[in-house]
């Protein structure tokens, strides 16, 4: 092929792909394409919308909450839903809607911190185990097996019991129980392409094991790990609510949804709204994360196509 025809061909291809050339721009376009695909599917669209509303609610909670969530009004206890109190009031006269709105902040804090802890740990354990293999892999996977062999709520309970009750400890305990499935997944993914030619090429160019893991292997594992984290967020919310309900998570004045159900339980038979609304919020959010995770899997994981 002559130089001229090459450059002509190039010019044509450049024209066809202009716009997707520069890096940040193409990443942004890709993000937009993913969001569009998520919104195109009703169930994942629902998940995305609910989670967006959740995040916005948490940010502007003081602006949209009609009452202070912690102000006690003993003259106005256990009122059913009405125009003034849309979701009613609890046994101390606090507005339940305001408490649920402020509760989004706690739930989001838990979710964010847990995923920030769990993602890197799971990814690191899984990719190193898959890449190095041998005795290191055996040790790491047996440790993961031990964590996996307990029901996550029971294991979190044990950790919280050891660390002491409270929101921070609950977050740590949940983090410790959520990483094993992610490590397993990252290892399985790593095994599928650790023998690939591009890894061999990278090794021949003198890349250290750490460099190969971070630069070549982790980017390949990231989509499925992201999907897995989103899906496990539903479990995280349920576990956090469970710990709150058992009195080991967020402590009473905090408007945590699980703790609200725990205190409302005593009045549940006569005053259904104490339990129904926080329960509905938990249901809605964990359902939304599940649906979003399913949608993300379709959008991100090339193997599902």
């Amino acid at each position: 092929m002559t130089a001229k025809s090459l450059s002509l061909q190039d010019a044509a291809q450049d024209k066809a792909m202009s716009g997707s050339r520069s890096n940040p721009n193409s990443a942004f376009r890709r993000l937009l394409a993913i969001i569009r695909e998520l919104l195109g599917n009703p169930s994942s669209g629902f998940g995305l919308v609910v989670i967006t509303i959740l995040v916005l609610t948490a940010i502007v909670a003081p602006l949209i909450a009609p009452y202070d969530p912690n102000v006690i009004n003993l003259g106005n206890t256990l009122k059913p839903p009405s125009i003034e109190h849309w979701f009613g009031t609890d046994e101390l006269g606090r507005d339940i809607m305001s408490r649920i709105i402020y509760g989004t902040r706690i739930s989001l804090t838990i979710i964010t911190i847990v995923s920030v802890i769990v993602g890197p740990i799971g990814l690191l354990v899984g990719t190193t185990a898959g890449y190095f293999g041998g005795w290191y892999d055996t040790i790491m996977m047996r440790i993961t097996d031990i964590f996996l062999s307990f029901p996550s709520l029971i294991l979190s309970l044990a950790f919280v019991a050891a660390l002491g009750a409270g929101l921070e400890n609950a977050i740590i305990a949940i983090g410790l129980t959520t990483w094993p499935p992610i490590a397993r997944l990252a290892r399985a993914e790593t095994l599928t392409f650790r023998g690939a030619d591009y890894i061999s090429a990278s090794r021949m160019q003198g890349a250290s094991a750490l460099r190969i893991i971070i630069k070549s292997i982790m980017p390949m594992c990231l989509p499925s790990v992201l999907v897995r984290i989103t899906l496990s967020m539903a479990t995280v919310i349920l576990t956090a609510a469970g710990l709150g309900f058992l009195g080991l998570g967020a402590q009473p004045p905090l408007p945590e949804w699980g703790a609200m159900i725990a205190t409302g339980r005593r009045y549940m038979l006569d005053n259904w709204w104490l339990v129904a609304f926080p329960g509905g919020a938990i249901l809605l959010v964990s359902l939304a994360f599940n649906l979003l995770g399913d949608g993300l899997r379709d959008a991100l994981d090339p193997k599902q196509r």
């Binding site: 090429a201 990278s202 003198g206």
Partner: protein
């Protein structure tokens, strides 16, 4: 000077009674600047030899010397700058999520080389690609373009020896000729030593001065290129292989 010297290279897998010989006492040597072919049917151990020299396999016995030094004694950084490899499948040898820029820059970063942008652009021009390709991703390239990028990546560290593992067998016939001519040009310009694995005798005839015929993990004969035209090999299997290839060419 001898660029590659392989002595008694053997690989055994399994234990005691289940022990199986994959490679048996392979010996050959390649002079500097020479292009040496390895031919044989599938499973005869051609690529395995290449992977041993590339240090991607480490469980072999015997001795492999590059430019007079055993590969195991060479410091790894120096080894990388002496030998590079081009893989068979251009769709699997480039990282799908790395741009061409990243693929070419990684080796330069690892070896802390200077004038990186200049070197990357030079490398692409040398393989007949426009420097604008730096911003592309592998999925935006054709098979032939990918293989050119793979060659550019292998040459960017300025190695003196290039291992080629069937570099054209995954390509379309017209593109095959382009890539082979490119490889021949690069060898002449840079005085490279090639170790060329292929099962296509026509390709070997075009690219190599000498070749070794392999069967069941053994080198049955080392011959010069001229033998391919006459078909007068000493070993019966080599003769059969050349004859079959000649008949096939006539039939086509």
């Amino acid at each position: 000077m001898t660029a590659i010297d392989v002595r008694n290279l053997s690989i055994d897998l399994g234990y005691s009674s289940a022990k199986k010989r994959i490679l048996g006492d392979v010996c050959f040597s390649v002079e500097a600047g020479e292009s040496f072919g390895l031919v044989g049917e599938s499973g005869s151990g051609k690529s395995t030899i290449l992977r041993c020299i590339a240090r991607l396999l480490n469980v072999w016995e015997g001795d492999i010397q590059l430019e007079g030094r055993s590969v195991n004694d060479m410091p790894f950084a120096e080894y990388c700058r002496t030998v590079q490899m081009v893989f068979q499948d251009p769709y699997g040898s480039l990282h799908p999520r790395q741009s061409i820029r990243t693929a070419l820059q990684e080796p330069l970063r690892i070896h802390r080389m200077d004038r990186q942008v200049e070197r990357m652009e030079r490398a692409l021009i040398d393989v007949g690609l426009d420097p604008a390709f730096l911003a592309r991703y592998p999925h935006e390239l054709s098979g032939g373009q990918r293989q050119r990028v793979a060659i550019a990546r292998a040459l960017i560290l300025e190695p003196r020896i290039l291992l080629l593992d069937e570099p054209t067998s995954a390509l379309d016939v017209s593109v095959q000729a382009e890539v082979l001519n490119l490889l021949a040009d690069l060898r002449a310009k840079r005085k490279l030593t090639y170790l060329f694995v292929s099962h296509d005798l026509a390709v070997i005839d075009h690219m190599c001065e000498r070749l070794a015929v392999m069967q069941h993990g053994r080198v049955v004969e080392v011959m010069s290129r001229d033998v391919l035209a006459t078909g007068e090999a000493n070993d019966p299997y080599a003769r059969e292989l050349i004859q079959a290839s000649l008949e096939y060419d006539h039939a086509v």
